[in-house]
């Protein structure tokens, strides 16, 4: 029995044939995603390159996609730090590309902007259950009167869910009502929202993006690619009845357009006497850094490299003008692989800086308040200092000679002692892009998915 797994990327479509009994990758191929014509064309080529004739038909065919712009979402909350943040975490955790987030009362200018953004899904939150209701109802009315055609997911105060849904439906909008992302202060509840977003993606967005030809002929596109990575990470950390998981872990995904960090960990304070503040953290959490794509943002990351003593050695022997030109050219030719030794070193430098900054933003930190009694310490975000494993996924970890060095950039820095990054984790490289494949298999074939990860993730010093 084998599974055919497929990842429609923005530039490449990757297919894998995985033996469900052993988790072994029987065959793998990739072809350019011919986004403008029919995706199945690129797919057809990838499949014909797979050597699985002897194995007969696959038992299951599953796909994830970040093609055609991925899943574009807008998140709306009431206050930026509470339901606004909860909505953002839910959207990111569902693998969305967050186009914009709003809080408080939507203005007419906001709605005009929203119409331009052409999001696939708009997430509307605001108010705890039984809490504030006039602003979210007003926002629902604004959305109702707009030209928006996106699916609207209502995950706000349940006391006025019916009224909000009614006014939206009366204007012909497609509304899905789910449990509140913040039913009460201190209780984050993003799973129901993630699940409905996944279902909407599968049932409607895939169709709207013209992926359904592929779906009918080849494989069910069941989730956005970043969600597959997150599901893979979750399974690997938690394990299943017959297989122990790896415990708390982080997955860093360095891409050309963004750098994503996924953590599976409670993040409770490990230092004594620390007060934990802020919105509760989702155990399975994804953050996306849109300014840290190692192609699109090469120039700005290069600036950071110049300024940070720790990473400056990647620039050794490189002329300033060469760096500027190289960075500009990387931004133009996104799919380009480094050709010379200098280009490879520069590339690794960009990736190391991206990992460094992205993990630093994802991790929680300690702040000191000077009270009359001396310092009082407050933790915001997750304490990831005792995370046991870090997995690097994405092209750089497959191609770079210094992949281990790039991944080490995620570790604790003694010059930033208050950033709660992993201190002594084991480091693993996912050079086969197995994380997303495992995420696709996680529900129906968790054991195969775990075996796949255990086989393919390579430990590095």
């Amino acid at each position: 029995m084998w599974a055919l797994l497929c990842d429609f990327g923005s530039t490449f479509t990757k297919t894998r044939a995985v033996d469900l009994g052993t988790g072994e990758v029987i065959a793998a191929a990739q072809a350019p995603t011919t986004a403008r014509s029919d995706l199945s064309e690129g797919l057809g080529r990838a499949i014909s390159a797979l050597d699985v004739e002897a194995s007969g038909e696959p038992a299951v065919r599953l796909a994830c996609s970040s093609a055609a712009g991925g899943l574009g979402m807008v998140a709306i909350g009431l206050t930026p730090t509470l339901t606004g943040e909860a909505a953002r975490q839910a959207a990111l955790g569902a693998g969305a590309k967050l186009l914009r987030s709003y809080s408080h009362r939507l203005t007419r200018a906001d709605v005009a902007e929203l119409e331009q953004l052409a999001a696939d899904i708009v997430l509307l939150a605001g108010g705890t259950d039984g809490g504030e209701s006039t602003i979210i109802l007003g926002n629902a009315r604004m959305l109702a009167a707009s030209a928006l055609s996106a699916v609207i997911v209502y995950a706000g105060n349940r006391q006025c869910a019916d009224d909000a849904a009614e006014v939206l439906r009366a204007h012909g909008k497609h509304v899905e009502v789910v449990e509140n992302v913040l039913p009460e202060l201190g209780v984050l509840n993003i799973e129901p929202t993630r699940e409905i977003i996944r279902q909407m993606f599968m049932r409607h967005i895939v169709h709207a993006k013209g992926l359904d030809g592929v779906q009918a002929r080849f494989a069910d596109v069941v989730m956005p690619t970043p969600m597959a990575v997150l599901e893979g990470a979750k399974l690997l950390a938690e394990g299943m009845a017959r297989r122990v998981g790896w415990g708390d872990l982080i997955v860093v995904d360095v891409g050309g357009a963004t750098t994503d960090v996924h953590s599976v960990a409670e993040g409770t304070p490990s230092q004594p006497g620390v007060v934990w503040k802020g919105l509760p953290q989702s155990r399975v959490k994804r953050t996306v850094e849109g300014d840290l794509g190692i192609r699109i943002n090469a120039s700005t990351i290069a600036e950071r490299l110049r300024g940070d003593r720790k990473w400056r050695h990647h620039l050794e022997g490189l002329e300033e003008s060469w760096i500027d030109e190289q960075a500009a050219s990387l931004a133009r030719t996104v799919e380009r692989l480094p050709a010379s030794a200098a280009e490879r070193s520069f590339d690794a430098g960009l990736a190391a800086a991206a990992v460094d900054i992205a993990v630093s933003r994802h991790a929680g930190r300690i702040e000191r308040y000077w009270g009359p009694d001396g310092a009082v310490r407050v933790q915001r975000g997750k304490d990831l200092s005792s995370v046991r494993s870090i997995v690097g996924t994405g092209g750089i970890f497959a191609h770079s000679e210094d992949a281990a060095g790039v991944l080490r950039a995620a570790l604790y820095r003694s010059d930033e002692p208050d950033v709660l990054r992993p201190r002594d984790p084991r480091l693993f490289l996912d050079s086969e892009y197995a994380m997303a494949s495992a995420g696709l298999l996680a529900r129906a074939y968790p054991e195969s998915a775990l075996m796949l990860l255990e086989r393919t993730l390579k430990e590095t010093a």
Binding site: H104, G126, T128, E132, V275, P372, V376
Partner: protein, 148 residues
């Protein structure tokens, strides 16, 4: 419209203050008395009080300060509430408000000028707080009903 739902109160100890006992007792007593109590605990910033009050549509903010820095910590709170659209929320302050012994009348008028509706002296018992809350919230509800 007479509301049948319980009043919602936000409680918290402001600033870098860690004195948790008073607020815990108060939260317990008010919850027993039927209020919907959201206790933000210790070391609560003004921003946290305000965001919480907005999301739960709170009827009152009960701010506690024990360690003697209440004046700096609570400065501007009323204006910040106004900026955030909840300018007329009922606001109480209690605990041990200033360092050293002071005439409480002076302390009270200083904090009332800062926008607190009531200021409570050290050692205030939960029953007193309850009585004031019931009467203040009732008269506010009556005022709302009068305005068409």
């Amino acid at each position: 419209m007479a509301t049948s739902r319980p009043y919602t109160l936000i409680l918290g100890v402001i600033g870098a203050d860690v004195h948790v006992i008073g607020i815990t007792i108060l939260a317990h007593a008010l919850r027993e008395a039927g209020f919907n109590v959201v206790n933000l605990g210790i070391m609560v910033s003004q921003e946290e009080f305000i965001a919480a009050a907005i999301e739960v549509d709170a009827d009152a903010l009960l701010v506690s300060s024990l360690y003697g820095h209440g004046e700096i910590d609570a400065e501007g709170l009323r204006d910040h509430c106004r900026e955030a659209g909840i300018g007329d929320i009922l606001m109480y302050l209690g605990g041990n408000l200033v360092v050293g012994k002071h005439d409480f009348k002076e302390v009270e008028s200083k904090f009332r000028d800062m926008g607190f509706d009531r200021v409570f002296p050290p050692g205030t018992l939960p029953d007193d707080v309850l009585a004031w809350l019931n009467s203040d919230l009732a008269s506010r509800a009556a005022r709302v009903e009068e305005t068409p």
